[in-house]
């Protein structure tokens, strides 16, 4: 049994607003963590967990659920805020982020028992291989569930990503969908300065993937991309989601200095008051 899916874009926007607010609150409570990418992905996560994926917060280990592999473990705050919003655990627990004894580890850790976590991850470049293994197993078992893998654009500089991309295409894993968080920023600055990854769509295409590009902060665009993804036959799909790092908080949008920084409690309240 899966959760009821929401198609109304206004309703999804409201959910994204709550998720952003909770991301800011949990980061302010922890005093450290990755704000920019987490905010930028709030719309992608809203669409996945409230409109696209088959899953059940009451039965997190449901065998036929769609799986989300978060390869960029550092944006754990958006995953946690989304899972809490979906009912996997109480929203108040978000305030324990990164604290000793918390189930909300700095990067997701399955061993800490938080429901809804598919993979302990955080070392970049590993998630797509794991997602590929899940997709292969699902094909072998003739299961219809889908595997989603959220990756960063800077992460694509890791060579192991392309080993995985090659293998997913080789096995024609059309039950696998990668979402690249294309915010064009990484810790040292813009991806084009640090290490150019363009032409990105051509790279994926040449590896045998179906490529869909969209505005990753536009629910309507995201929903049509995800529905396009489900029609894929014989090829894995990558959605290049063009996002703004820090989206929703004008003061920090598109500023790479907010990649790995948390707001103070005062800043968080200001940001929440100004949230769009």
């Amino acid at each position: 049994m899966t959760v009821k899916k929401i198609q109304d874009v206004e309703d999804l926007r409201k959910i994204s607003f709550h998720i952003r607010r909770n991301i800011l609150r949990s980061l302010a409570a922890s005093g450290s963590g990755h704000t920019g990418g987490s905010l930028g992905l709030a719309d992608v996560f809203t669409c996945l967990y409230f409109s696209v994926m088959n899953h059940n917060p009451q039965n997190p280990r449901w065998e036929d659920r769609d799986r989300l592999v978060l390869s960029i473990g550092h944006v754990a705050p958006v995953l946690y805020a989304t899972l809490a919003q979906a009912g996997y655990f109480p929203v108040e627990e978000l305030l324990t982020l990164r604290k000793l004894g918390s189930r909300l580890q700095g990067h997701p850790g399955r061993d800490h028992g938080l429901p809804g976590i598919e993979l302990s991850a955080g070392s970049l470049g590993q998630g797509l291989s794991v997602a590929t293994g899940m997709a292969l197993a699902a094909k072998y078992d003739k299961k219809n569930h889908r595997i989603y893998c959220v990756m960063g654009d800077g992460e694509l500089q890791e060579g192991s990503v392309w080993e995985a991309a090659m293998s997913a295409a080789h096995y024609r894993l059309d039950n696998l969908c990668v979402i690249v968080d294309r915010n064009k920023l990484q810790i040292d600055g813009s991806t084009s300065d640090v290490m150019e990854i363009e032409p990105l769509a051509d790279k994926w295409r040449s590896f045998g993937w179906k490529v869909i590009a969209c505005n990753g902060n536009d629910h309507k665009d995201l929903l049509s991309s995800f529905s396009e993804n489900e029609k894929s036959s014989g090829m894995p799909v990558v959605i290049i989601a063009n996002t703004l790092m820090g989206k929703g908080v004008k003061a920090i949008e598109n500023n790479y200095r907010w990649h790995g920084k948390a707001p103070t409690k005062e800043e968080a309240e200001q940001f929440i008051a100004a949230l769009e």
Partner: protein, 318 residues
């Protein structure tokens, strides 16, 4: 107990046999190929169960990650390649995707040690024990012959829950372990009792240790020989009994003398019952090309050198 060589066999053939037999009983066993499927003994499985064999090419990091994804989906994946690549090229994937997630994956570290011979230093895994044994959740197996490799492989598939690294070689070596000897993962095996000195060995060095013990007997030295097939978790009891009862220990491994099996024994002994230990292994150097027997001779990994080192330790009264 007098142990006889039933004939030389490479330990990799035991691994391949173990995987094939386990695969017949356990349908969730999947094998991932890294281009050298036949060299690591997995070709028989691939032929018998083509639908459960997935070729992934020369991409060890991806292999480890795909194994993690399969394990998270209820499969028991096996991937194997040269130990240098299995343990070192994919070590971050093994650390995070496999060990941190505590997934039941069998990693076969093939062609371990100098006995790969002519291929030379790049392909001789002499560091894999050191690197694998510090990873939380992993079980590190190092069978002494092909018979034991088959048995431990089947046990690792059937009885264990977390990640397993199993180390084996390409060169044909004596197959001597009795089929009926009690074998428990995590427990060492007393192969010859003795009161004067203990030789604690792993992998096919165990056979050399037994031969050294015979040579020592002729010199009036009663040596104990212990086979440690599980390097992690290591059997503290059998090691501490040896330390208390014989007061002197020689360890032998086809691996760097730093950080590996001897170090694991020394960690136990030094903390609970300090006695003198001689660690025989490769002395902080890379290997080279040569015939396996020539290399074992040059690097001191044979019965003759174990005998010499044991005598030196016996006569060391400091």
């Amino acid at each position: 107990m007098y142990l006889e060589n039933r004939g030389n066999r490479p330990t990799k053939s035991g691994f391949g046999q173990g995987i094939l037999e386990a695969g017949k009983i356990q349908p969730e066993l999947m094998v991932l190929g890294a281009d050298i499927t036949a060299s690591v003994g997995l070709d028989s499985f691939a032929k018998e169960f083509p639908e459960r064999f997935f070729s992934l090419g020369i991409a060890e990091q991806n292999c480890a990650g795909v194994a993690a994804g399969m394990a998270l989906s209820g499969k028991i994946p096996v991937f194997s390649t040269y130990g240098v690549f299995a343990a070192l090229r994919s070590s971050d994937q093994i650390r995070v995707s496999l060990c941190y997630n505590n997934l039941h994956v069998i990693i076969g570290g093939a062609h371990a040690g100098l006995s790969v011979g002519p291929d030379g230093a790049t392909h001789q895994a002499l560091e894999d024990i050191a690197i694998m044994r510090v990873l939380p959740n992993i079980t590190l197996l190092s069978p002494c012959d092909a018979t034991q490799a088959a048995l431990l492989t089947k046990m690792a598939v059937k009885d264990l829950k977390g990640p397993v690294y199993i180390r084996f070689g390409r060169e044909a070596v004596p197959d001597f372990i009795p089929e009926n000897i009690e074998t428990t993962i995590g427990k060492g095996q007393l192969l010859k009792n003795g009161k004067d000195i203990s030789i604690i060995a792993t992998g096919h060095m165990v056979w050399e240790a037994l031969q050294a013990a015979k040579m020592l007997w002729m010199k009036g030295v009663d040596a104990r020989v212990i086979n440690i097939h599980t390097i992690k978790p290591i059997d503290k009891d059998i090691i501490l009994d040896a330390a208390r009862e014989t007061k002197k220990i020689v360890t032998v491994e086809e691996h760097q003398a730093f950080g590996g099996f001897g170090s694991a024994v020394a960690e136990v002994v030094s903390q609970h019952c300090p006695v003198k230990i001689k660690i025989i292994g490769v002395k902080d150097t890379f290997g080279e090309s040569g015939q396996p027997a020539e290399l074992m001779q040059k690097y001191g990994l044979n019965a003759g050198n174990i005998f010499n080192e044991a005598l030196l330790l016996m006569n060391d009264s400091r």
